[in-house]
Amino acid sequence: MAFLSYLFSGLSLGSVYAIIALGYSMVYGIAKMLNFAHGDVIMIGAYISYFVMASFGLPVYVAVIAAIAVCVILGVTIERFAYKPLRQAPSLAVLITAIGVSYFLQNGAQLLWSSSAKMYPSVFGNGQLHLFDGQLSISYLTIITILVCIFVMVCLSLFINRTKTGSAMRACSEDKGAATLMGINVNRIISITFAIGSGLAAIAAVLFCAQYPAVSPTLGSMPGIKAFTAAVFGGIGSIPGAFLGGLALGIIETLTKAYISTQLSDAIVFAVLIVVLLIKPTGLLGKKIREKV
């Protein structure tokens, strides 16, 4: 029973990683860039939702909507002013710019809201669901997190596979040049991608802070790195891959903490990533690339 309980908390952590990883993966798939500032967008989302709930006393759904709105605007703005001018630049230049944006957001937050951590209000209460005559208790937070992740995943799959914009996105990720020739506005598609990724980051922010209720300017770094790892784990650029990678990473991390060692959990998570990449060099669901001679 203890195992099942760990599994559920792993799934819940993994769900948060998965939602963040979706943002990384979509942006990578379409803009072919590693958006290092993604973790900091999560941090901004966390602060916005914190203020809506703690300062204005508004309910959580208002906080989520407000965080999504701010993050979407933020994400699109960053893309417009920092990344768009670098469409033709080497990928390393874009990477460094993303790092600059990350510093900017972290230090901006520190300036506005100080570096000391703020206590995030309890969002979903401490209620628990008791199963098997009370042998297995799962908190409502865990259940809600997992359900939200599944909901997000289903919506995103429908959007990508069933809508016109979604197929335009797939076209852009295959070949931007050909997509332009087909009359697709590539810049608009990239903006939409950043908007979706940042919106997902806001959702992840609320779920993450509900689990780890301390909001600080560096809040986004670690989940950011972990989710980036998850995206690569699943095969970067692949949406089901990001989902799978996120869940796998969350479960591995939680089980390692429970059964092997708390201190070494990070080392083990990254070691698993390396082993996976050695067996499948482009991640679990990544496409194999073969250079034509």
């Binding site: 990578y28 590693l34 290092f36 920092a82 001018p85 670098l86 033709q88 630049a89 080497p90 390393l92 230049a93 990477l95 460094i96 710019t97 790092i99 600059g100 944006v101 510093y103 900017f104 230090n107 901006g108 520190q110 300036l111 770094s221 790195i225 980036f228 790892t229 690569v232 970067i236 060692s261 201190q263 070494l264 990070d266 080392a267 990254f270 070691a271 990533l273 390396i274 990449l277 050695l278 060099p281 482009t282 991640g283 250079e291 001679v293």
Partner: protein, 354 residues
């Protein structure tokens, strides 16, 4: 032989000269008391990051593989150095000799780590390789965070995860997990730092303009063509990776000897990223650029100190603007236009005053 040396030779010579002139000027400033304590404190760390940056530039610029874990190798070198120095402190009281041994040990151990890590890592390509170097950086930090080493009459004692060291009389703790190493004998000097920079430059330049250096660049430019003319791609990449790791290890060893305390967190992911920023801003494959950009970007936050809380945000903005200006023609135009506008206003202001 003329053709090999002409233009490249001049560029290399100016780089060496730049370092030596900087050394002379800074030493005079320091000796005459014109260098503030903040800048004096930065001299050795800047040298260390320059050496690590030169190594990373060999890896990223010359070999063309993105590496997000350079600080991990600095960490290996740094803690190796601290342990070696601690163990040898009574045997070799002479600081200079001990420092040389420490740096060499740091370089060798980091090089061995580089080799072991390189075996799996170099099978991957592009962003996948980058993420694995990131992962290794994290793993190294996590392992050192849980490592406890002590020394007493009976030799070394090592424990992992939990501190179970039971040291005999006169025993000393060399490394204590997340607290790192304390009470380090600070034997690093600016002169040692500059010599290390010059040695690193010589290693990388001489390697670049040799048979193996050409193979490294050929592999970067076109892997398939390189194989077709008989270049062993895996060995070649490994040579660049291990050399880069060794240089980072040497840099880390010197860095560790500059402070009384060294913690695993000193070499976190952010440090790896910082080194990468220095290298990219200085220009890929351009060692002189790495030296200049590392020095400027490390001193910049200190210069901006008067701006207090705003300094890091201004630093970030400068970073973004540099990338935009150096990579986008329109942005370059707009920003240089802005500068011209400011200049013009200033000039007009001067005229009005007269």
């Amino acid at each position: 032989m003329k053709t090999i040396f002409d233009k490249k030779h001049i560029s290399r010579t100016t780089t060496y000269l730049l370092v030596i002139v900087a050394y002379i000027v800074l030493t005079i400033l320091q000796k005459t008391g014109n260098l503030g304590s903040l800048f004096s404190g930065l001299l050795v760390p800047v040298c260390c990051f320059i050496v690590a940056g030169i190594g990373l530039n060999l890896n990223v610029g010359i070999s063309g593989e993105l590496n997000l874990g350079q600080a991990g190798f600095m960490s290996v070198g740094g803690f190796t150095g601290v342990i070696v120095s601690g163990a040898l402190s009574t045997m070799i009281p002479n600081g200079i000799i001990r420092l040389i041994i420490v740096i060499i040990c740091g370089a060798i151990v980091a090089g061995i780590f580089g080799y072991l890590i390189g075996i799996p890592v170099l099978k991957l390509q592009g962003d996948y390789l980058a993420i694995v170097t990131l992962a290794f950086g994290q793993i190294i930090m996590s392992l050192i965070n849980n490592l406890y080493i002590g020394i007493d009459k009976n030799g070394f004692q090592v424990s992992f995860i939990n501190n179970t060291l039971e040291l005999g009389e006169g025993g000393r703790v060399l490394l204590s997990g997340p607290m790192g190493a304390n009470g380090i004998d600070r034997i690093a000097t600016f002169t040692a730092g500059i010599i290390l920079v010059l040695v690193a430059l010589a290693i990388v330049y001489n390697l670049m303009y040799s048979r193996n250096g050409r193979a490294i660049m050929a592999t970067r430019d076109n892997r398939i063509a390189a194989e077709s003319i008989g270049i062993h791609v895996a060995n070649t990449k490994m040579l660049a990776f291990v050399t880069s790791a060794s240089l980072a290890g040497a840099a880390g060893a010197l860095y560790g000897m500059n402070f009384s305390t060294l913690m695993p967190l000193n070499f976190d992911f952010n440090s790896s990223i910082l080194i990468l920023v220095y290298v990219v801003l200085g220009g890929l494959g351009n060692m002189k650029g790495t030296i200049i950009s590392t020095a400027i970007l490390m001193v910049l936050p200190e210069l901006l100190r008067s701006l207090q809380n705003y300094r890091m945000i201004i630093y970030a903005i400068i970073l973004i603007l540099i990338m935009l200006v150096s990579n986008n023609a329109t942005a370059k135009e707009k920003i240089s236009g802005l500068f011209k506008f400011l200049k013009k206003n200033k000039a007009e202001g001067v005229e009005a005053n007269e």
